[in-house]
Symmetry: C2
């Protein structure tokens, strides 16, 4: 089942290899055990037990963030966190709640905190079926260089909501202006948890659909996309089935598009594993 393989690839997380990161009564991250070990020398900020790591610093968001930043600084120095991204993500007990602290994006997989992003399916509906505008990621991207991507995608930085992030990224990544992006329709949330070289990605992708006019051509202005191509959805699905050309999580976004728009159909034996597998529980 090749479609299900793409989903499995994004859910390579193995609970036996990780311990929870606790803050007060909340579980806010998952630390791979080797990463947890590295926090031993930061005993003022983190308390290690056999099966958990606890954040010891309490207080307001600024105070906790400063303490964690000190640890991140050391991890960057040791090469355990690749580099500062100078963009912070909120770390909250749940979506929509007040953040306990803010964490540099570069350290998010190290601590395995849940990260939220937006993905836009920019599509056209022609007599022959759906086509999607697909971007090719720049060769110098840190994550998945050169891979195929949605027309617009991006992480939700601290204090920004989903809709605001979508509008900002749409403008920068594809020259989709405010009027056009206001027609984008939110269509659900996909979830996966994946072990990577850096740690654990515990990701939520808010997906949006936008039907694009026939004369629209995306133009990238932030250097993150090398080029765009309009591809028939049938060809995209075939490529997802037979190659790893698409960025790992973009496979999921496009499979979800095909499920929601009736291109994959229930009487296909693969259907249920795909439709269900895109939604890992938020435990």
């Amino acid at each position: 089942m090749p479609f299900a393989d793409r989903i499995r690839h994004c859910n390579s997380y193995d609970p036996a290899r990780a311990v929870p990161l606790l803050a007060g009564e909340h579980r806010v991250g998952w630390l791979r055990r080797d990463n947890a070990e590295l926090l031993k020398r930061h005993g003022k900020v983190f308390a290690l037990k056999r099966n958990s790591v606890r954040l010891k610093v309490s207080g307001n968001c600024e105070k906790v963030s400063r303490a964690v930043d000190g640890v991140v600084e050391a991890l960057v120095g040791d090469g355990k966190v690749p580099k500062w991204r100078n963009e912070t993500f909120d770390v909250a007990p749940r979506w929509g709640e007040k953040p306990l602290f803010r964490l540099d994006r570069g350290a998010v997989p190290f601590f395995g905190v849940r990260a939220y992003g937006i993905h836009l399916n920019g599509y056209r509906r022609d007599p022959g079926g759906y086509s999607l505008w697909i971007g090719q990621r720049a060769k110098n991207k840190q994550v998945s260089p050169g891979k195929l991507d949605n027309i617009v995608a991006g992480g939700i930085g601290n204090g920004h909501g989903a809709a605001a992030t979508l509008a900002k990224e749409a403008e920068e990544e594809a020259a989709i202006g405010p009027e056009l992006i206001s027609r984008a329709m939110p269509a659900g949330a996909l979830t996966y948890r994946m072990e990577t070289k850096l740690g654990i990605r515990d990701d939520v992708m808010f997906v949006y659909d936008l039907e694009l006019p026939a004369d629209f051509v995306p133009v990238n202005s932030d250097g993150e996309i090398a080029g765009f191509e309009l591809m028939p959805l049938s060809a995209i699905l075939e490529r997802i089935r037979t190659s790893a050309d698409f960025k790992f999580n973009v496979n999921l976004v496009i499979l979800d598009f095909a499920v929601r728009h009736g291109v994959l159909r229930p009487d296909d034996p693969e259907y249920l594993d795909v439709a269900n597998g895109l939604h890992r529980p938020l435990d």
Copy 2:
């Protein structure tokens, strides 16, 4: 979080109160422990262990079905299965695979085997927003009498696929003919597992959307629906939030419609729990 409460209600299953029903190398059902005890006197068909029940009969589908039917007969006699429904569901290791046996619909919750159904959102898109045609279930229905329901819904009986079941039920329940129902779009699968008086419901709902013409009015011909009403989606959502007027699982189907059509939106703090909670893993 009232929307999430509707989802929780459909996921009342507690693993501590159930044991797996095994057939060969497959887990094909979940028996509540009190129901499992009742199988002790059917030792030729089922082998009880402390934490599982195993189907002992093997062979072709007809042979196994006959053996299980003998047990169902006794359970109906004892009032543990309410009655024969004279409609059988396939029991297979997975969706789309060959059935190991067939089980009368009346006994499906007793054994906790996975059941598959279709639900249709019959909607209109007017300038003021979406409206859905909603049915009221007949007062003599065994399950959820008098509750509000989708315009069309039904279980997938043995050997029938999802699309064929949709077409048949659309004709019988709402006088939606073959041409109109052929425009219905499959849009995903919702899953839940719920303990009921009878046992455990382990349900998959294949959801379809159908945009209905302004002059279309549904007419029921099988006596299962007392009447239909066209309701604004905003009013339906308010009623879901504040009442138990809708059949338990229909709440989920309509919440999913609201998520997929951008009526519920990501920046709502409830959004993620709803969008994710509609998809229980297929374990």
